[in-house]
Structures are given as C-alpha cells and as structure tokens.
Symmetry: C2
Subunit: 340 residues, 2 copies
Amino acid sequence: MDAFLVTHRPNIFYLTGFTGSAGTLLVCLAEAALVVDGRYAIQAREEVRTARVRIMRGDLLAGVAALLRATKRTRIAFEAAHLSVQQRHDLATSTGRSVRWLPVCGWVEKLRAVKDEQELELMQKAAELASGVFEDVLALIRPGVREVELAAEIEYRMRRGGASGPAFETIVASGPRSALPHARPTTKPLTGNELVVFDLGAILRGYCSDLTRTVFLGRPPGRIRRWYSAVRDAQEAARETLRPGVQAGRVDSAARRVLRRHGLLRYFSHSTGHGLGIEVHEEPRLAFRQPARIEAGNVVTLEPGVYVPGFGGIRVEDDVVVHASGARLLTRVTRDLIQL
Amino acid sequence: MDAFLVTHRPNIFYLTGFTGSAGTLLVCLAEAALVVDGRYAIQAREEVRTARVRIMRGDLLAGVAALLRATKRTRIAFEAAHLSVQQRHDLATSTGRSVRWLPVCGWVEKLRAVKDEQELELMQKAAELASGVFEDVLALIRPGVREVELAAEIEYRMRRGGASGPAFETIVASGPRSALPHARPTTKPLTGNELVVFDLGAILRGYCSDLTRTVFLGRPPGRIRRWYSAVRDAQEAARETLRPGVQAGRVDSAARRVLRRHGLLRYFSHSTGHGLGIEVHEEPRLAFRQPARIEAGNVVTLEPGVYVPGFGGIRVEDDVVVHASGARLLTRVTRDLIQL
C-alpha cells in the first residue's frame, strides 16, 4: 500500500484537527496531505499541523486523483464505509488502471475507540457541561411549559457553556411521547402526573456527551417506581460487567437479564449503549451478541430503557470511561427518579 | 427495474415524511416499504402514509436483502452517491447473484430541486424566521459581546420561534476572522471598527433557510463601503440573471463579472450560491461553469463575498425562489451595510 485515503470527516478531524465540513486526507508513510477547497484555505492552515494543506478548485476527489498521478502512487487503501459507490467509480475513472484501490474498514475508528488522557479530559468536561445544564434546567420544568421550550433552554445553556452545538437533537418527550426512544420535542405542554424523558448532549471542542434522565411530574405510582428501579438496576448491572477484555455483547446482556427478570424485556427496543467520542455513536457498540472486546480507554454510554406504547417510557443514560479496574462515570447527575 | 432502494435520509423524508435518523426505503411500482429498527416503530407509523412500515432487528440493509429474497425482486436501482462501497458489497453478498444492482444518481434530488406550493410556504416561513431573529439580535451587537454569545442567542431564538435546530452551525465571525467563509464562532469579543459576518439559518418542519449579513461596528472607512457595494451589486447581478432556462454557471459568472470589475475577484473563494430545501446544500449549484439549467420552483441562495486574509470579509446572502418571470426574495432584511 502506498497511501491511505481518508474521507470520513470525524476521522480527518481525529488525525489532523481540521474542523471544516469538506476535506479529504491522503496519508502516505512519510507525509500526509489534506486537500480542501478555497473556503477553508486559511482555516486549514490554522488548524492543521500533521498534514500539508493543499487547496484545490472544484471537486476534491478529482484533486486527489491528480495528486496520485503526480506522485505515482499506485496502491491506495480507502475507507469502504465512507466512500460512496459513485465516488469510487469517479476515482477509478480519473486515475485509470494504473491505480489499484483497496477497500479497508474501521482503521481510524479502531484508534478512535481508545481515548488518550487529553481526549478523556475533554470528554469529562463535555459530560459535566451536559450534567450541569440539566441540573439547572430542572428549575424550569413544571406543568404548562412546552417540550420545545425546554429543548431550546437546554441547547442555549450548553452553547453558553462553551459547546459548539448539541451532540444530537435534544429530546424532551413527555407523557405517551416518552415511549418514543428518539422523539423530537413538540409544542405539547407538560401536564401533571406524567413521565418526561430528557436526552441531551454537548459537543465541546469536537467531543460529545450524551445524558438521559427521566422525570415524573407529581408523585409517581408504584408501577412507575418499580419500572424505574428495574431500568436503573439494568444500567448498574451493565456497568458492573464493563471492564477490559469482556465482550461488548455481555455488557448488553447483563442489562437485558435484569429487565427480563422484571418482565420488561419486551419493552426494551434498542441496545444498551454505544461508544462516544468525536461521533455520538461510535465503537464499541454494546449491542446484542456483539463479539468485540472492551478495551481500557473506551468511552461508552449505558442507556437501558423501557417503552410502553401509548403510556410512556423511562431511560437512564450515563457516559463512562473504561479503566483497568472497571468503569468510571463521566456524567454527574443523580440516578434516582426525579420527582418534581 | 423491479425496485428502487433509497438510502439518503433527506430523500426518504421527501418521499415519506419520516424524520428518523435511520431508515431505508424500497420503492416498487405498486407499493413502497420503509424499513426501520425498533426505536422508530411508533414514530414511523405516525409519520409515514406513503409506504408500509417494516420493523427489522439488526442491520437495516440485511432486512432489505431479506425482503428482496422474499419478494423475488431481481433488478434493483440504488442511489450510487448514497450507498457506501461497504454497504454495496454487503448487499451483494447477502442477495447473491440473483439480484442485479443498478447504480443511479440524483433521481430524487432532481424532484426535490423543484419545490411545490406547500414547500415554498414552509421555506418562506423558515426564511422569515431567520430574518426576524437576525433583526432582533441586532440589538445585542456591541463591543465586548463575544461571537459565541451571539451565536447562542441566534440559535436559541430560532428554536423558540419553532425551528427544530439551526440549518448549520451559526457563523459569527468578527475582525480578521470574518475573512474565513466558514468560521466557527469563538470567545473573541467584538471590538469597535471591525467587520462582523453573521451567517444563520433555521430548519423549520424539515426545510432550511440560509441568511448572511455583514455588520460594521462604527463608521466604515471608504474602502469597506466600496467593497460592500461591490458585493451587493454582484448579488444583484446574479439575481437579475436568475430565471428559468438559464445555465446555473451564468448566474455564477454574473456575480463574478461585477467583482472582477472592482478588482475583487481574487478575494471571492467560493461559488455564488446553492440550492436550498431539505438540505442546506442541494441542487442546483450556482457554481463556475455549471451547465445545469435553472427551473421554475428552484430555491437558491445568492451569496457572493470578498475575503481579504488577515483583514476581514464581507458577504451578503439571500434566499430566492425562481418564478417564470425571475427571482423573488424569501429573506427579508435590509441589504445595506449595517452600521452599529
């Protein structure tokens, strides 16, 4: 292999620090070139130290093809999960038969899954930002306030706290809408005696946090208290299983086992967690039968939930970092059912 | 062709109304199936009327492959620009030789480029939302306030006004940073006697707006007034050229011609505009030598700018819809240089 073409934006950010929305990185053994268009000429030179910046007019991949022709590189690895069939076709057309294209998968993602000290420090701050904002916003939660208003407050306060934006569209889902794991906030006002699920995260200097808490407006009936305990116990079981060397699927099944014991497994419609970092969903995935091994330095979410259609949902989600001895929490909000 | 596999999220939203983050649409002549995972079971059934919703466990494309085997469909078109080499490989592996995969490009994008009345109404509202928020935020612009604070205010107010989020990361770029066309807001406080570029947009019920204005804090020197006039004239020239049947590249060159006449062309590092709709960048592109023809119902931005490295930048951007007789503005903010 003569070079490695990196086209996935989070991977380019990881390798170079470039935060622009368009760029292509060509990594060779002795050097690397970041190809960007004129809009990013100044920014790329400011941000990037690990690669030479080359400004191209027009299509970036055509620029890469020209670079390959000029440097006579002929065996090029590319990110098969992050190059479209069309781009692959265009590249092959413009470089001709002289270049052999080798599909590879997950090379940079595998590096990214293990965070170094500097990354962990940032992720700690991103988690604290989301935690602090959620705790502050608790004061605004009351019957009559609309889901979208609370979402707007959360995103505003994260922004004011230094976030470049939310890590994903903030979820505020109340009453029956809390049964939708990925609900979008609506103009529905909160009422008394209902569940409200908050799922929020900040992007802080390129790294994400992801936090979910469930609130009950009023005095929760026994059934909801029992469901909540089951979800929290499921999260706790997953956290106790989490350590270097264990299979990701075992962490997922630890949570499932608790929910099954409470007769709630059929209400759990997603997986137990996911890696977190530059992307809000990355490696490792804590999913059913996932064979990948957990490593020290992984940062993952633990987020079991139960969703009862037409009634409501409960989810508790924290971010944890895996150490030699187990998992340490990055998010810092009470994990009890919050009654307001 | 027996079926068309749609994998691009904005295209799926356009065809079905589904707003979830994961889904795959298989369109056949008589019917369509939207394949989603369990997280979106309730939401997809709420949102989607034009396709049958099928819930699949695990990988969605594996679910699609199973569906194809079951229905004996053998010639399948797919979106070559929106399926990765890896996904294409996995699909081919799971369907075997019985299925022939036909790459196609831009089928749905071509439909999306021409907006209908209902879409135009939404886009008008999205443009008005951005316009109103910018006008309100003018009151907060003064020396000492930080770029990120203004960006947070803008995004918060768009949210409160009904946006599901910003259409892109809001730009507030002051002083020399305004020379970066895609600058991210920093903690830099505004000072007197400098340019500030604001670029903002809202997503309203799935449709984007995109507005740029340039502000000068203080009394602008003659040079800046001249540059500003040139940029505004360039935008005006592009707008006058814009009508059904004209080549997109001609609209771009109309703006370039004005900037060249003022000796500013070398400071214009991007293209004149882009289509706007479900995505913030879509067809048609108003770029150098772009041969595509403008059609009635296209919505585009017109956003020439000049960027002088180390000194500052000026950009003026509006959203317009193309009618039989010309272009009508959707954004509604004075196009004069704003002095504060």
